[in-house]
């Protein structure tokens, strides 16, 4: 574990060396969180204050970072016995709604600490129902949902480590900081100053400028981030996020997902995560596995199913019409062209690559504005 931690610290140094200050700070804060040490927290928070001051100089910053890295290397990552690596296991899980007739059918998967699973599918295909089943809010009619990490715990204790964030985040009352400290006080009982924990998490999620505001004065995107901060302070073992990206801008979406991936793989407090989203590409980037739900059934499981379909499917945005595009790509055994909201979906048989397609387009001087190979993406299941 110490080796991994040292590696993380080196990574922080290299981010600063290469001038990637933002990522450097985020990873530095990750390392600080790994130590779970009040002195380290204070030092890192002082560093954050320094960064917010007017007197920031590159050389001084790297100097300060190095001091912090040394301090953290000395303290080391906090070691905690995390028990079973396996967090959740679903075997033939099914659930039917009597009134609507809609059913979740035969879902099977398991997740380990540190792994992320993306849950995708069109609206009304059972993503939220499946998340609620996993969160223990709904009861499965068939199959078994097991939580190996909490085998000996009662249901309430299990639920306190199994955190489900709904699409619509409930309103927080009172100050944001008070809410975070109050939550921390329930989860970090041995700590004397829970404000430090709240402060470090706020810094980690880039919320320091907003920490003294109230719920009504922040945008929905920042509400999502504060809710995430609160959730991460609760040290989940399994984090279930229902459309967490809905309220976030494009930059925040990528940052938050990357941050969650880092944190899920934490040395001191790793967790598994399932997130449902319509932002397929962003989710696929961070997920170890993808579950595509269609009418309540798992249509495709990226991790477990060998892909039988090996055809090449591309998304293209070009400034020519369908006929011109067809002519340009005809030498490549084109199977099908679909037009879908400004983007062409182009199907080829196997034995072709994206590079060949781009080469053909270049030959015919077709200007390409957007190109994506979705052959292995769940995106292709959304095509009618």
């Amino acid at each position: 574990m110490q080796e991994r931690f040292d590696q993380q610290l080196k990574e922080v140094h290299s981010h600063y060396e290469s001038g990637d200050l933002d990522l450097g700070l985020r990873r530095l804060l990750d390392c600080a969180i790994e130590t779970e040490n009040a002195e380290v927290f204070r030092a890192v928070l002082d560093f954050c204050e320094y960064l917010e001051s007017q007197a920031v100089q590159a050389a001084t910053t790297i100097e300060k970072v190095d001091i912090l890295i040394k301090m953290m290397a000395k303290v080391g990552a906090y070691y905690r016995e995390n028990g079973s690596d396996e967090v959740i296991s679903l075997a033939h899980v099914g659930k039917k709604y009597r009134n609507s007739g809609f059913a979740i059918k035969d879902i099977n998967f398991d997740l380990k600490l540190g792994s992320i699973m993306g849950l995708v599918g069109e609206n009304g295909n059972g993503k939220t129902t499946l998340l609620r089943l996993i969160a223990g809010e709904l009861k499965a009619d068939k199959g078994k949902v097991a939580y190996p990490f909490a085998a000996a715990q009662d249901e309430y204790a299990l639920k306190s480590k199994l955190i489900y964030i709904e699409q619509r985040i409930p309103r927080w009352h009172g100050s944001l900081m008070d809410n975070l400290i109050y939550t921390t006080a329930h989860y970090h009982e041995n700590w004397k100053d829970h404000r430090l924990w709240a402060e470090i998490m706020i810094a980690r999620l880039g919320l320091r400028p907003y920490r003294n505001l109230t719920w009504g004065r922040i945008s929905s995107g920042y509400r999502t981030r504060f809710e995430l901060a609160k959730t991460l302070l609760r040290r989940p073992k399994l984090l279930l996020l229902d459309e967490p990206l809905a309220n976030l801008d494009i930059v925040a979406q990528q940052t938050i997902l990357q941050d969650l991936k880092y944190m899920a793989n934490s040395l001191s407090a790793p967790f598994a995560m399932i997130l449902s989203s319509q932002h397929i590409y962003e989710v696929e980037k961070v997920s170890d596995s993808i579950l595509f739900l269609k009418q309540g059934a798992a249509q495709w499981d990226k991790k477990n199913q060998a892909d039988s379909d090996s055809s090449l499917i591309l998304e293209l945005e070009v400034d020519v019409n369908r006929e011109t595009l067809k002519n340009a790509l005809s030498p490549l055994n084109l199977q099908k062209i679909q037009y879908n909201g400004g983007v062409f979906l182009v199907h080829f048989s196997s034995n072709h690559s994206g590079a060949q397609v781009l080469s053909e387009l270049a030959k015919h001087e077709v200007e390409v504005h957007y190109f994506r190979n979705i052959s292995q993406s769940s995106r292709r299941f959304f095509i009618q």
Partner: protein, 495 residues
């Protein structure tokens, strides 16, 4: 300062922070102080002791109730912001029971402003009346009342201070007189045949202070005051030995007492004593009324009369005695405990379940009450209600326990759980009351009053202990049964 305290509490004692009790209690204490001072510095004179002493609290009671309601509403706005149980935060074993206890403290302390006001009034009254020797004053007034006739019905043998033997002797003399008159009367239609006036005349004493025996006033512990017979003997001696000055002195003392307490009267001791000693055989010439005048039906107008509002003196003495005893008797404290316990239970039940379930249980309990009433009315057996309630209690209990443990029917199990919880405090007293009723019936079958059923007597005498036990028992049940069950319910899935 407040921010520092808040920061310390939220981190170290999140429960105290969330209940806001650290700030609420000083506010409540401050309000108590204001109420106490208002009571203490309220205008006081001795006439307050008999002049609607209690009824003048009405405004204060209303104000104190409104203030309590306002305080609780504002406090709830802060308190209900966070609910760690519903949020699924890990809770220590005693977290919920500690929260319940804090709620009890809030409800108990915020509902007693009026009592603090009353305590202020009592303390002031105590100070103002500390020189008053109530026993002495009652004895003085009682002795004086041997020379003031206030009711014709006092002149009866059974109200006499004579010994039983003397009363029998007197009654025999009156009987002889009756027979003599009856025998002498040859007219069979004479009124003397009618027993009513005869019987009445048999009991009636001559309207003379010599036969008048009145123990007008009393203190709580009657053993402490001079008995009526001794007072009568003394008064009798004074009259027979012509101690006019002693009688006058005593009446003057009484008049001074009346003036001290500002009791309305037109007693003139000098003229009263003069008339008394001038009369033949101390015959009574004035019966004192309790009002300034009496309405004459024949004349259709108020006729002035001799009067003393003598009951005011007793009221004053009673009030002083009550103030000295203090009003914080165990019954009031127990009542307040029940109030605080019930309110805390109601609020805690709201915290432990969902809003939907709580309101459904509230509406449902009304419907169940109506249903039970209909069954009872249609069967015309009031006892059936009790048995039905017990049956429902057992069924609700079983339903809640089984469904929650087996993770079934979350909504229904929540409603059953709340019904059981709300009924809990009333079950033991109901059983006790029913048992007492049962043994009362057995007791009533015993002829005479000398012997009573020991079980009935025991049940009847130990109501207080039962009510105390009931609170402790329910508190323990909350800790070991209801609260763990509530946590389990929270973790259960919906259908």
């Amino acid at each position: 300062m407040i921010t520092k305290i808040q920061a310390y509490l939220i981190s170290r004692y999140p429960l105290l922070w969330n209940t806001r009790i650290v700030f609420l209690l000083p506010i409540i204490f401050g309000i108590h102080m204001l109420f106490y001072l208002a009571g203490y510095f309220k205008h006081f004179n001795l006439s307050d002791l008999h002049d609607g002493y209690y009824y003048r609290y009405e405004g204060v009671v209303m104000f104190s109730v409104l203030l309590t309601a306002l305080l609780i509403i504002i406090w709830l706005i802060f308190y209900l912001r966070n609910n760690p149980l519903k949020a699924g935060y890990p809770l220590r074993r005693f977290h919920l029971i500690k929260e319940f206890f804090l709620l009890m403290v809030v409800f108990f302390s915020s509902a007693t402003f009026f009592f603090t006001y009353q305590q202020g009034v009592f303390n002031r009254t105590n100070i103002e009346t500390k020189e008053i020797n109530t026993i002495d004053e009652v004895n003085q007034a009682n002795l004086a009342f041997n020379f003031i006739a206030a009711d014709r019905s006092d002149f009866r043998i059974y109200r006499s201070c004579d010994s039983l033997a003397a009363r029998d002797k007197r009654r025999e003399e009156r009987l002889e007189e009756y027979y003599r008159l009856r025998d002498a009367d040859l007219n069979p239609d004479s009124d003397m045949i009618n027993n009513e006036p005869i019987n009445e005349s048999l009991d009636t004493l001559p309207l003379s202070y010599l036969y008048y025996c009145s123990l007008r006033y009393s203190v709580t512990n009657k053993d402490e005051q001079v008995p009526a017979t001794i007072q009568h003997d003394r008064a009798h001696r004074w009259l027979l030995s012509g101690h006019r000055d002693s009688v006058l002195y005593q009446l003057n003392l009484f008049k001074a007492l009346l003036e001290k307490y500002r009791i309305a009267n037109n007693l003139d001791p000098e003229s009263h004593v003069s008339r008394m000693f001038a009369a033949n055989n101390f015959e009574v010439d004035t019966i004192y009324g309790t009002t300034k005048s009496t309405y004459d039906d024949y004349l259709q107008k108020d006729i002035p009369q001799a009067y003393i509002r003598d009951a005011d003196f007793q009221d004053s003495i009673d009030q002083i005695s009550e103030v000295r005893r203090g009003f914080w008797d165990w019954e009031i404290i127990l009542f307040m405990f029940y109030y605080a316990f019930s309110m805390a239970l109601l609020l805690m039940s709201f915290r432990m379940t969902s809003i939907r379930v709580w309101f459904a249980a509230l509406v449902g309990s009304g419907l169940v009450a109506i249903l039970v009433s209909l069954v009872v009315v249609s069967s015309n057996q009031s006892e059936l209600a009790l048995y039905l309630i017990w049956l429902l209690y057992i069924l609700f209990h079983l339903g809640a326990f089984v469904f929650i443990r087996s993770r079934l029917h979350k909504f229904l199990s929540g409603v059953l759980f709340l019904w059981t919880l709300w009924m809990q405090l009333s079950i033991l007293p109901m059983i006790w009351g029913k048992l007492e009723d049962h043994y009362r019936e057995i007791n009533n079958m015993i002829p005479g009053n000398e012997v009573s059923n020991p079980t009935y007597t025991w049940l009847n005498r130990h109501w207080h202990e039962l009510l105390e036990f009931n609170l402790v028992f329910t508190f323990i049940l909350l800790l070991v049964f209801f609260m763990p069950l509530a946590k389990k319910w929270q973790a259960n899935p919906e259908e």
